[in-house]
Amino acid sequence: MAWKKACSVNDVAVDTLRKFDVGGVGVLVANLGDEFKAYPPACPHMEEPLEQSGVCSGGLLTCTKHLWQWDMRTGEQRAPAEKPLLMYDVRLDGDDVMVNVEHELEYEYEEEDDDDFEW
């Protein structure tokens, strides 16, 4: 396991997102009020920087580029989004928000997972 401190609980206001460098990996930390979550920093659609394009409201994250939306607790997509959010495990250690960044999570923008789609 590679638990590392991303930030302090006071670094991210409720219903906002902030990007932190966690041992060289960019991680987006969200404060849902009763829970912290951590995601890769780019939108799974067109790699828009979610720290700037993302809006949190009512437990939903919306990217203002194309209004892709996700449930912030589960990462599940809501229409019109076509891909879920990836998430890092998060735990609190006192006032520290700890994120498990064993591997950097990245989206498959090039569809390489799909043999059918590759030439």
């Binding site: 409201s57 194309h66 030439w119």
Partner: protein, 347 residues
């Protein structure tokens, strides 16, 4: 030539003319491929081709910042093919091409060019044929001698018309802008491709409408007001319009907006937001049917709307920072679902 478009969900075979933009060929043949601006700005229509199969006509298009050229990615709206080829389009095709109407090429001539403010002009295009479009849609416009298409939203609305009206803001150094403002464009031939865009108004939705525009973004909103007024929308539902400009000298369409307010019989409010100056004392007496406020248009919207969003459908049009700021307000404060928010960002 023939282009085979492969998506994860479906394949399309598209007949494409020599020199024709691949996106336009696909859309007019009914392939509902992803796109937004259709003119190189947003990057939404990116696709992949084998090396050498397609040629980009605008390498430095703003939307190319979304591309990985080493993977053969290109913008369909800016590229042509010269032989049969196959392309891959990521993402899901839309439910329909553009408001259910297939776009086509039409020729026409520019007429009735007139200045609305010191740097905004209006013009009409008299088409050789007719076009049906939904309120809120746009066309891509091209003139002889200028490379590439520009996107302009229609100001007017009729179910089918041979005349399209537009507004344009003067952009120093802009090719089309120079041609329009400094040349002799009257009666010059134009080609339009459209209708385009999915940010459309549909009276049968039967909901209140909230329209927020920055500068010439008011164009599509005027079309929506024309259609909604004609459809009797304001007999049953409310409408609110927030129109952002810098100062009083930048306001246009006051008479048309005042007229819509009158015809809506109390169910339409129009507020002009002045970002760079205080509201002069004369504004209210000069334009008694319009409201005025000082501030950025998304902040004025936030303040005036407060908790009155209900289940309105929102239309947003303007420069990208203005649209993004407004989308935040609609999502966070208005709690509007994505399906009730329609926007046009133009750079």
């Amino acid at each position: 030539m023939k282009i085979t478009v492969r998506t994860k969900h479906q394949n399309y075979t598209v007949a494409c003319n020599e020199g024709e933009r691949i996106l336009y060929a696909a859309l007019r043949s009914g392939a509902p491929l992803p796109y937004e601006c259709a003119t190189g700005t947003c990057g939404t229509c990116k696709a992949r081709a084998r090396p050498g199969d397609v040629r980009s006509h605008w390498q430095s298009a703003p939307g190319s910042s979304y591309l990985k050229p080493e993977r053969g990615e290109f913008l369909m709206c800016q590229s042509t093919a010269h032989a049969d080829c196959e392309i891959l389009v990521p993402g899901k095709p839309a439910a329909e091409v553009a408001g259910g109407l297939l776009p086509e090429y039409l020729k026409g001539a520019l007429c009735d060019l007139r200045m609305l403010t010191h740097d905004v002009a209006a013009f009409d295009v008299k088409l050789d044929g007719t076009m049906a479009f939904r309120a809120g849609q746009f066309v891509a416009v091209r003139t002889a001698g200028l490379e590439g298409y520009r996107a302009y939203s229609m100001v007017n609305h009729d179910e089918r018309t041979d005349r399209l009206s537009f507004v344009v803001k003067r952009l120093p150094g802009g090719g089309f802008s120079n041609w329009l403002f400094d040349g002799s464009p009257q009666n010059q031939p134009l080609e339009v491709f459209g209708p385009l865009g999915r940010a459309t108004y549909d009276p049968s939705e039967g909901k209140d409408i909230l329209c927020i525009a920055g500068g010439s973004g008011i164009a599509g909103i005027m079309s929506i007001l024309a259609h909604s007024t004609r459809a009797g929308h304001f007999e049953q539902h409310r409408g609110r319009v927030f129109f952002g400009v810098r100062g009083m000298r930048d306001v246009f369409f006051h008479e048309e907006l005042s007229d819509f307010v009158t015809r809506a019989g109390g169910n339409l409010e129009v507020t002009i937001a002045l970002s760079d100056e205080e509201v002069p004392a004369s504004a209210q007496s000069d334009y008694p049917r319009l409201g005025f406020a000082t501030g950025m248009v998304h902040l004025v919207t936030s303040e005036r709307m407060s908790d009155q969003y209900g289940d309105a459908v929102a239309f947003v049009a303007g420069p990208p920072p203005m649209v993004d700021g407004t989308l935040r307000v609609l999502i966070v404060e208005g709690r509007l679902p994505a399906s009730s928010i329609r926007y046009d960002k133009f750079g």
